[in-house]
Symmetry: C2
Subunit: 152 residues, 2 copies
């Protein structure tokens, strides 16, 4: 799986969330062999649930996975992972995280790096533009979603 | 709300999880005025969901809360919070975390402290004993739940 293809799946999830009226952040957990283990999007608004970020939704969708599978997987997310989602990657031993962008907000990058996780930023313009569109349309929703840090 | 009372609620949740066959970790998010905003327990096994830890379940139960409410609340958890749950507290600006114990495993303590969050360890014997009982009974479930770090 090349990273652009992985990010494309995450972006499709972000678009799905936008179309549902939600925060347009998507994620996908993909194995070293290119198998999509799980994919999902932020559902804070859709399900009135503060911990359903894109990455946590992808982890739920993947189900309970063996440690050795997590270890070789990559987490793709259209936006830099927040501290909760960075922590979830650390918890499950995911060693590689690819973000669409971190211009909208920065998150747990330093935490991930401090734990030896490989972190790649694709600086994807369409991920950024989709977030900017949402924030312009629903500033209050965005502000409430990341009181201290940000939504990942 | 004194901390022993807050921990009692978290412990009740842990017992509930144990009785359901799940990992016996409980949590409660309690306001400065003593209002229980949310409570919950680990449901990894019960709902086949890797991100339903005690703290995240309590946050879901609390719903979408205003930043100012999170700021004055305390998160009680029967076991030291893992990196995901520590990150969730950071994300939402919860400034105080009280753990039942960290003899079973250590988690995101340093991360919480580095963010200026007040962290208290009650060294509660019954929280510890309940975890030990579970680990003895279901070692595989426990091991799978915290491949890199641990379950909070």
């Amino acid at each position: 799986m090349n990273d652009e293809l992985g990010m494309q799946i995450a972006y499709e999830e972000a678009v799905k969330s936008y179309e549902e009226g939600g925060i347009p952040i998507g994620a996908a957990l993909i194995s070293a062999e290119g198998v999509v283990l799980g994919r999902g999007h932020n559902e804070r608004i859709q399900k009135d649930n503060p911990i359903l970020h894109a990455e946590t939704s992808a982890l739920i969708n993947a189900g309970r996975v063996d440690a050795k599978v997590y270890k070789t997987a990559t987490m793709y997310s259209t936006l830099a992972s927040c501290f909760m989602c960075s922590g979830a990657c650390i918890l499950y031993g995911i060693n590689r995280v690819v973000m669409g962008e971190n211009r909208t907000v920065q998150g747990g990058e330093e935490l991930l790096i401090s734990k030896g996780i490989e972190l790649i930023n694709l600086n994807d313009e369409k991920c950024y533009q989709l977030m900017q569109k949402f924030i312009k349309e629903k500033p209050h929703e965005w502000h409430q979603a990341h009181p201290e840090e940000f939504e990942g």
